[in-house]
C-alpha cells in the first residue's frame, strides 16, 4: 500500500480469472459433492451415486441412504457455505471492515440463541417458522454489536466491533447453553459448541431454498453498488448511490443468509471471513465477480470441511466448526496483524 501502482493493481477486476475460478470451482464442488456422498459408514461407489441421483430405485439400499441421508446433508453443507461466504462478502464490502464475518460480529450467536429459545418453548414448531426465529436472532445479535460499537468512545473501528462481537457471542452463547441445559434440549451439544450438518433433512432445504434464492439474487443485483461502497462512502455518494438504502437492503440480505445457515449448521464462524478474502485475492475487487465466486468457493469449503469432519476419526464426526476455525484462526490473526485497515 505504498506506491500508487501497487494500490491500483489489486483493485482491478479480473473477469477472465473470475470465469476460470467460477467454472473451476463448480467442477471441484461437483467432485467434492460426489466424493462426500460416496464416503461414509457404508462405502458407496461413485457410479452408484450417479444412478441414485439420476435413475433412483427405491429398492436399492444404497440409493435410499443417498437419497435420505447423504444427499440432503451434502446439499445442506453447500448451501450453508454459500450463505456464510456471501454474507461475509457483503459485510466486508459495505462496511469496509476486513474483519467482518457473521460469526465474528455476533450475528451467528444471535441466531443460535433464538433457535435455542425456539426449541425450548415450542419444540414441535415446524421448520418453516423456526427459520423466522433464526432471522430475528441474527438481527438481535447484529443490533447489540453495532449498538455497543457505536456507543463506544473510539467509534466503530473494525477491531472494536470484533471485540464487541466476541463478547456478545460469549454472552449469547452462554445464554443458549443455559437455555439448552435448562430445558434439556442439548442432546447434540456439538450443535451449540461447534456446529454440524449431520441433521439436515429435505424439509430444511425446501424451506431454505426460496429465501436463499431471493437473497442471492438480491446480493448479485446489489453487487455493483457494493463495489462502489467498498471504495468509500463519500465516493459512493458522489457517484449518485443511495448508500443508506443499499446498506439497509444489504444488511437484511446478510441477516437472512446468516440466519438460514445457522438454523441448519449452528453458529459456525470464519467461513464468511476466509472465503471473501480468498476470492478477492483471486478475482480482484469487483463484487459482481466476488459474490458469485464466493457462492461457489464457500460451498466448496464447507462441503470439504464436512467430508474432512467425517474422515478424521470415523465413525465419530468431528465438529465442522472446529475444523473451519483451525483454518480461520491463523487467517484472522494475519488480518488483525495487518492492522485491520486495508481491504
Amino acid at each position: 500500500m505504498v506506491a500508487s501502482s501497487e494500490l491500483s493493481a489489486p483493485k482491478r477486476s479480473r473477469p477472465i480469472r473470475a470465469i476460470i475460478v467460477l467454472f473451476g470451482g463448480m467442477l471441484a464442488l461437483l467432485l467434492a459433492i460426489g466424493l462426500s456422498i460416496s464416503f461414509g459408514a457404508a462405502d458407496i461407489q461413485l457410479a452408484t451415486v450417479w444412478t441414485a441421483v439420476f435413475s433412483f430405485n427405491p429398492d436399492v439400499t444404497a440409493h435410499q441412504i443417498i437419497r435420505e441421508i447423504r444427499l440432503p446433508r451434502v446439499l445442506g453443507a453447500a448451501m450453508v457455505g454459500a450463505c456464510f461466504a456471501v454474507a461475509g462478502a457483503l459485510m466486508q464490502g459495505m462496511t469496509r471492515n476486513p474483519l467482518a464475518d457473521s460469526g465474528l460480529l455476533g450475528i451467528n450467536a444471535g441466531a443460535a440463541f433464538m433457535l435455542a429459545i425456539c426449541f425450548a418453548l415450542w419444540p414441535s414448531l415446524p421448520y418453516l417458522y423456526v427459520i423466522l426465529f433464526s432471522f430475528l436472532g441474527a438481527g438481535l445479535g447484529a443490533g447489540i454489536v453495532y449498538g455497543v460499537g457505536s456507543m463506544s468512545r473510539g467509534g466503530l473501528t473494525p477491531m472494536r466491533l470484533v471485540l464487541a462481537g466476541a463478547a456478545v457471542s460469549a454472552l449469547l452463547g452462554a445464554l443458549s447453553e443455559g437455555v439448552a441445559l435448562y430445558f434439556r434440549i442439548g442432546q447434540d451439544l456439538a450443535f451449540w459448541y461447534a456446529g454440524g450438518v449431520s441433521g439436515t433433512k429435505w424439509i430444511h432445504l425446501q424451506v431454505m431454498s426460496p429465501w436463499l434464492l431471493a437473497a442471492m439474487i438480491g446480493a448479485v443485483i446489489l453487487s455493483r453498488s457494493i463495489t462502489l461502497l467498498s471504495l468509500g462512502e463519500e465516493v459512493s455518494i458522489g457517484l449518485g448511490q443511495r448508500t443508506k438504502t443499499i446498506k439497509v437492503v444489504g444488511m437484511v440480505i446478510v441477516l437472512i443468509l446468516a440466519g438460514a445457515a445457522v438454523s441448519v449448521v449452528g453458529a459456525v464462524g470464519f467461513v464468511g471471513l476466509v472465503v471473501p478474502h480468498l476470492t478477492r485475492f483471486l478475482v480482484g475487487h469487483d463484487y459482481r465477480w466476488i459474490i458469485p465466486c464466493s457462492i461457489v468457493l464457500g460451498s466448496l469449503l464447507v462441503v470439504l470441511a464436512d467430508l474432512g469432519a467425517r474422515m478424521i476419526n470415523p465413525p465419530y464426526e468431528t465438529p465442522i466448526g472446529a475444523l473451519i476455525a483451525l483454518i480461520g484462526v491463523p487467517f484472522f490473526l494475519y488480518l488483525a496483524r495487518k492492522g485491520g485497515k486495508e481491504i
Binding site: 455497543v148 463506544s152 472494536r160 466476541a166 452462554a174
Partner: protein
C-alpha cells in the same frame, strides 16, 4: 495539614477494612447457602452441626465428600483467576485483560484435556501433575499471544492483544475438541462441559493439588504489590523510580499465568472472573495493589461461589456450569468497559 492527612489515611484504612470484612461475611453467607444447595436438603443448623462432627453419617458424607470440596475449590479458583486478571491488567495496563479472554485458560485446558485423555479421571490419576502441566500449557499460549500481538515500533496495543487472545483461544478450543475426540471419543462430553466452565474436580485431592500453588503465587503477587503500583504509573515513571520494568513485568506475567493455569486445571475454562473481580474491587477500594489484590481475590471467590451455587440450584438435580453463569454477568460488563476504552 499533616494531621488531616493521617486522619484521611486512617479513614481509608477503616473503609477498606470494612469492605474486606463485608466480603468475607458475604462469602460465609453464600457458603452456608451453597452447603445447603443440592439434592439432599440440609438446614443451616444441620450444616453447622455436621461441620462440627455432630451430624449423621449420611450428612457428613454429603457435606465433606461432595459439597465442601467443591465449594472450597470454587473459592480457590475464584481467587486465583481474579488475582491473575488483576496482575494482567496491571502489567499490560490493559483494562480488559483477563486470562479467559486472552486465551491463557484455553492453553491450560488443551494440556489438561490431553492429560485426561491419557489418564481418565476414573482411574487413580496423578492429579498433582495437573497444575504443573496446565502451567506449561498456559505459559506456551501466553508466549504465542505475546509474540503474535507484538509489533516492532508499536509494541503491544491493548486492542490487538485482546483480538489475538480471542482468536488464539478460539483456535485452541477447536484444536482441543478435535484432538480429544480423536484420542478418546468418550471424553467428548467432558471436554464440552470443561469448555463451558464447570467446577469439575470436586474432590479433596484436587483441592490439595491446587492449594500449594495458590498459596505461593498469591503471596508472591501480594509481596510485589508495590511493583504493580509503580508499573501502573507508566513505563517512564516506573524507570524513573528505579524499577527494572521488563524483568519485573515478565516475572509478574509468569505468576499471573501460573495462577490462571493452576486454577483452570481443576475447574473449567471460566472466563470473565479475572475481568469482573478486579474491576469491582477497584471500585470498592481504589487502585493501590496492597488492598486491591486481597479485595480482588475475595470478589473473585464470591463471584465463582455464587455462580456455582446458582448453577447447581437452578436446575436440580443436574446443573449449569459456573462458567456460563459468570459469562452472563461478565460479558455485558466487558461490553460496558469496551465502550469506555480509548485507543
Amino acid at each position: 495539614m499533616k494531621l488531616s492527612m493521617t486522619q484521611a489515611q486512617r479513614k481509608v484504612r477503616t473503609k477498606n477494612l470494612w469492605v474486606l470484612t463485608s466480603l468475607v461475611i458475604l462469602i460465609v453467607i453464600v457458603f452456608m447457602i451453597s452447603m445447603n444447595t443440592g439434592y439432599i436438603k440440609l438446614s443451616p443448623l444441620e450444616v453447622v452441626r455436621t461441620l462440627f462432627g455432630l451430624g449423621t453419617a449420611q450428612q457428613a458424607l454429603v457435606l465433606f465428600d461432595f459439597r465442601l470440596p467443591r465449594i472450597v475449590l470454587s473459592i480457590l479458583v475464584g481467587m486465583g483467576l481474579a488475582v491473575s486478571g488483576c496482575v494482567l491488567q496491571g502489567v499490560t495496563r490493559n483494562a480488559l485483560a483477563d486470562p479467559g479472554i486472552l486465551g491463557i485458560n484455553a492453553g491450560a485446558g488443551l494440556v489438561v484435556m490431553l492429560f485426561i485423555s491419557f489418564f481418565p479421571s476414573t482411574t487413580d490419576t496423578p492429579v498433582f501433575m495437573l497444575p504443573i502441566l496446565a502451567f506449561t500449557g498456559a505459559g506456551a499460549t501466553a508466549a504465542i499471544i505475546y509474540v503474535l500481538s507484538y509489533k516492532r515500533h508499536e509494541g503491544i496495543s491493548p486492542i490487538r492483544l485482546l483480538l489475538t487472545g480471542i482468536a488464539v483461544a478460539a483456535g485452541i478450543s477447536s484444536a482441543t475438541i478435535i484432538l480429544t475426540l480423536r484420542l478418546s471419543p468418550e471424553n467428548y462430553q467432558f471436554v464440552a462441559t470443561w469448555l463451558a466452565g464447570s467446577i469439575w474436580g470436586s474432590n479433596w485431592k484436587f483441592v490439595l493439588s491446587l492449594l500449594p500453588w495458590l498459596i505461593v503465587l498469591l503471596l508472591f503477587v501480594y509481596l510485589k504489590a508495590n511493583v504493580l503500583n509503580v508499573l501502573n504509573l507508566g513505563d517512564l515513571t516506573a524507570i524513573g523510580l528505579g524499577a527494572s520494568i521488563e524483568k519485573e513485568r515478565r516475572i509478574l506475567l509468569a505468576a499471573a499465568v501460573g495462577l490462571a493455569g493452576a486454577s483452570v486445571s481443576v475447574s473449567g475454562g471460566i472466563g470473565f472472573v479475572g475481568l469482573v473481580g478486579p474491576h469491582l474491587a477497584r471500585q470498592l477500594v481504589g487502585a493501590r495493589h496492597q488492598v486491591l489484590i486481597p479485595t480482588a481475590a475475595l470478589t473473585g471467590a464470591l463471584l465463582v461461589l455464587v455462580a456455582d451455587t446458582i448453577g447447581r440450584w437452578i436446575l436440580q438435580p443436574s446443573e449449569i456450569p459456573a462458567g456460563i453463569v459468570v459469562a452472563i454477568i461478565g460479558a455485558p460488563y466487558f461490553l460496558y468497559l469496551l465502550s469506555r476504552l480509548q485507543d
